[in-house]
């Protein structure tokens, strides 16, 4: 399952997500745009989480793709859909194993949208709160797993969608 690419575009294509690049207009702008978005998420992670921050630099992301491509595939998919660094960081933290403690969604048609997600660590780290007012970020919830535990609701996991 492991691969050995060092290039972001190659990693995206190996993950089967070449559409991220090919469907972007203009196409030449796709990789620079994705690079900027990854850098924004990494900067935010450093600011918010300090020493506990994951390394989300482009090189680290590609290295993680080489090591665990299943984990990165879902993140690649949403890089093209969400423009909010905080929500992309939230996605990565769920992939890492943070649990979804609380979700608040407020929506009023043609007026406003607000999303707030609280993540908790099973290892005693502080809760993390991620917020957005962009309805585009609702796309992230298409990737979140659901289950029931003794009939009680649980959101957990951030999965790649199977694409046709």
């Amino acid at each position: 399952m492991t691969t050995s690419t060092s290039d972001l575009e190659q990693a995206i294509r190996e993950a089967g997500e070449g559409w991220l690049v090919d469907s972007f207009a203009p196409r030449d702008e796709a990789i620079p745009r994705l690079r900027r978005r990854i850098a924004e998420v990494n900067d935010l992670a450093q600011q918010r989480l300090g020493g506990n921050a994951p390394d989300l630099s482009e090189a680290a992301l590609v290295a993680e793709h080489n090591r665990q491509p299943l984990k990165v595939k879902g993140f690649f998919q949403v890089l093209g859909g969400s423009r909010t660094p905080a929500m992309l960081l939230m996605a990565w933290r769920i992939i890492q194993g943070m649990e979804i403690k609380n979700v608040d969604v407020a929506y009023n048609r043609q007026q406003d949208f607000r999303l707030s997600v609280t993540l908790e660590s099973p290892y005693g780290d502080r809760d993390e709160i991620y917020e957005s007012s962009s309805i585009q970020d609702f796309v992230l919830f298409r990737h979140i797993g659901i289950m029931e535990v003794d009939g009680r609701p649980v959101f957990d996991g951030f999965y790649a969608l199977k694409l046709k």
């Binding site: 399952m1 492991t2 559409w19 469907s23 972007f24 090591r67 665990q68 491509p69 299943l70 984990k71 093209g80 859909g81 890492q96 194993g97 649990e99 099973p122 290892y123 298409r142 990737h143 979140i144 797993g145 659901i146 289950m147 029931e148 535990v149 003794d150 649980v154 957990d156 996991g157 999965y159 790649a160 969608l161 199977k162 694409l163 046709k164």
Partner: protein, 127 residues
Amino acid sequence: MIGGIDIRLPSPAGLKSLEVAVRAVRQQWPRAAFENGNTGERYERFSEIPFGDVEELFVYRDADAAEVWNDKGAIPEVSNTMIHLLQDEGLITAVIDEQTPEMETIINAIRSGLGDSILSLYAMEAA
């Protein structure tokens, strides 16, 4: 776990099946510790598990239970503190020591997670 109970759970989730199962177990055992069933490699944290490369995983209730299993094996004191998960084509097998309400909760949570349609349905590519 010699003579444990095998519970076979159909899964349409492919290589994601094991991750889904582990996440379900964590709901009951949030401080679970993990061990690769093929290589013996230990993972203290969920984030360390190389899903996609692992086909068998021992999920211990916590690090203390893992130590006892490692030192003393399947003694009665650690009954049902470890679940052996195996990922096969279209199937997750969970091996437990005995049926108890806690095990029933965990197995049903795995079954519920594996039934999530996002794991099996196709979406269209979108820009």
